[in-house]
């Protein structure tokens, strides 16, 4: 009985739905567009070597953008990730070169695996500081993470008096060799960094979709008060997202130091802005409650391919910035248009249905 009107509604709403589907897939379409454009405009763009190099560049931003996505979905922002990258790189470099001096004539040296774990713990810890400032002391996320941005960068510079920790090959007799594996190693033909990205991205996407914590992240961003009344532990959810963001930043710090076999305290400056850009390009709403890990990864690829492709074409870096900015603005404008269209299509369907 209800079959016929439902079919009619679906049919007449379909023209709006096609446009809507196109708009929903906009980041993906943009990705294909930049791929096609550069494969024609830039020679060697599609060579395997170049693609792998590019994906390594993209991976760095993608890690940060994933952490950022969860933070933004809860309605927050994390400006400190670039500084955490720098500080974690310095922590790793310091441990490889100097170990920990126990002040009693002994120095502990860690193997590379342990160093990686310690560095990740430092990243998570700084994320926890962000989280505590925001949940316990009620500091606005923008301000709290801005403060931590400066503090972490300052600590990174202090750790070496502003110098670079060079030559992180380690010493075989101390068991500190092998640090280069993360940045230069390969498994089955793909860089290790890409494998790590795949694992973390799948984990994050699973978390978002199939766990209570993931559902709570969206709920907190959509309506914090309603979440609280429904028994969601809002503070715990917020702690988690900032700690996860710190974790992602620590991974990036490790990978960069490992690639360069050196730690420089200024590493990661303004990385936070690229991460925010990728998340927004991937459809994450700055007002909270909306976003996907998949979208963010695609967003990171669009930004990364765009900048690498423009470099290969020899476009001036000043123009690159202008173009990147325009792409982000267009993405958000289309996003708003999609929202409005979606609302109209929903209303139309409701009116048709009854």
């Amino acid at each position: 009985m209800t079959d016929i009107p439902a079919k009619a509604a679906a049919h007449s709403a379909s023209s709006g739905s096609v446009l809507l589907t196109l708009m929903k897939l906009r980041t993906f379409i943009a990705l294909i567009a930049v791929l096609i454009f550069f494969s024609i405009a830039a020679p060697n763009f599609l060579s395997t070597a170049n693609l792998i190099l590019m994906s390594k560049h993209v991976a760095l931003n993608a890690f940060l953008a994933m952490g950022m996505t969860f933070v933004i979905i809860t309605g927050g922002i994390d400006l400190s990730v670039g500084s955490i990258v720098g500080l974690c790189g310095m922590v790793a470099g310091y441990l490889v070169l100097n170990g920990i001096d126990l002040q009693i004539g002994y120095t502990i040296y860690f193997n590379v695996f342990e160093i990686a774990l310690i560095t990740l713990a430092v990243g998570i810890l700084i994320g926890a500081v962000n989280g505590l400032l925001i949940t316990r002391l009620n500091v606005a996320p923008f301000i709290a993470t801005l403060g931590v941005l400066y503090v972490a960068r300052g600590l990174a510079l202090l750790s070496s008096d502003g110098r670079t920790f060079p030559n992180l090959v380690g010493k075989p007799e101390l068991g500190t060799t092998g640090f280069g594996f993360l940045g230069a190693g390969r498994l089955l033909g793909l860089p290790v960094a890409i494998w790590i990205l795949i694992v973390v991205a799948l984990g994050a996407a699973y978390l978002a979709k199939y766990t209570p914590l993931g559902r709570h992240i969206f709920a907190v961003g959509g309506n914090e008060r309603a979440s609280r009344i429904s028994g969601v532990r809002v503070n715990m959810v917020k702690m988690f997202v900032y700690m996860f963001s710190g974790f992602c930043a620590a991974i990036v710090g490790l990978i960069i130091s490992s690639e360069l076999m050196a730690s420089h305290p200024a590493t990661g400056e303004s990385f936070e802005l690229n991460a925010i850009a990728a998340a927004v390009l991937g459809g994450t709403s700055m007002s909270g409650g909306r976003g996907t890990i998949g979208g963010t990864i695609v967003g990171a690829f669009v930004i990364g391919i765009l900048s690498d492709g423009l470099v290969m074409m020899g476009v001036s870096s000043f123009w690159q910035m202008v173009i990147k900015g325009l792409v982000i603005i267009v993405a958000v404008v289309v996003d708003q248009a999609q929202r409005r269209l979606q609302q109209r299509v929903t209303l139309m369907q409701m009116a048709k249905a009854g």
């Binding site: 199939y210 969206f218 959509g222 429904s230 028994g231 249905a353």
Partner: protein, 518 residues
Amino acid sequence: MSATAEREIILKLEDVSKVYSGTVAVKRANFEVRKGAVNVLVGENGAGKSTLMKIIAGVERPTAGRILLEGEEVSFSSSGDAVNRGIGMVFQELNLFGNMSVAENIFATREITNRFGKIDRKEQERRAAEFLERLQAGIRPDMLVEDLRIGQQQLVEIAKAVSLDARILIMDEPTSALSAAEVEILFKVIADLKARGVAIVYISHRLEELIRIGDYITVLRDGRITGQEEMKNVDTQWIVRQMIGSDAKDFAKADGHLPGEEIFRAEDICLPRAIGGLAVDHVSLSLRAGEILGIYGLMGAGRSELFDCIMGRHGHSTGAIFIGGKKVKERDTTRRIRRGLALIPEDRQREGLVSILSVASNLTLASLSRFARLFHIRGADERQAVTQMVRELAIKVADPAQEVSSLSGGNQQKVVIGKALLTEPKVLLMDEPSRGIDVGAKADVFRTMRKLSRDGLGILFATSDLDEVMALSDRIAVMSNGKLTGMFDRAEATEAALVAASALGHGPVPHTESTAHD
């Protein structure tokens, strides 16, 4: 009252309708407002009174119909437009800026400036003081609005509307948060305005109040106007008949089951107010399994705050609660929900729903741990629970993956109820469960309450609707100014007794005639 017959009509609505996505709020309403008189508008919650007034005040635009101001057709594109035409409104929900002073609020958007465009603060405060003087509320114009009691804020809202020098002044439940003494002052102000030829449109739930100050009365039911009369020709029975209609409200009859053992007890709950005093003042009550305990009280009486304390939303509240005789030591909402408490909040949009999530996600938000093994949500279990809840509560939704904001108010409310029920509560707290939903959905909600109580749940429900509390409750508690001022068995409760008790919390009552009407 002299010569009530020949007061001229200043504003006329002809066949005005207003449709929102999903619901028709006002259907072909014809409404007249007379000069120098109090034009009373009355109807149940959700009958469309506020919408009708917002149309007159230019806040909402009618979907169809004409507005005639002194015989000339007008159309307001904003509330500023209506203000320019001499129409002022005191809104039900306070529209004040808490971070600004009283004077700044009164003159917001029409600031008094000097030649150089600088705001003349002194002059504003002087003029504001004149208006406040008339309200005798002891409010200084330089006080911050957020520091005032809710009743005083309402007076500021009234002062603001009076200061507009409006020819038509709409008051939407202006007394809902006022003490008896403040109500008297307001009535004096209204008499004064009337004498100056201002047309007043007055909305209230309190029938005794309406009969006292009204000159003309219009009754709304389900968006339709069901009666328009001179006040001197009508009595309470007439009003109630027009409001409820022949198809009397479907309250779902009691099935006569007997309540069981005590399932919930609150002892000596106190909640301090930010500005001093107690929002919840030493409240103790007990609830039995299968019992519906109605809590009647006016706006600001402390009902919602009491529920908040029970749910553990205020860390600084004191007192103890017991479930099934055992003390609940947990102080946070999450663990209290696990102990079997669930709240259906008054404000659906702000506290009940995550509007951008789907119907399904909203339904299971509070009970996700039930569907998760370790940390994995089992999709099939979740879907089954959602489907079952949608069917049980008769939620009208094509696909539970639809955004919850696309549903009508009544169905949204059912989603909030479903969310609470999925946590398998022993005690359900419902704060104004029928607010802003249509008649059909109301009947569904009431039927659900009956069914739940039959199944052995204890239900505490707060309402400011007398009919509702009388019809649904096994026992009725009355709150006023944070205190529990009355506890009645259904058999012994009368409307007059409830109304009297609901004014007790404000200390000595200066007038008693208001309850003597019926």
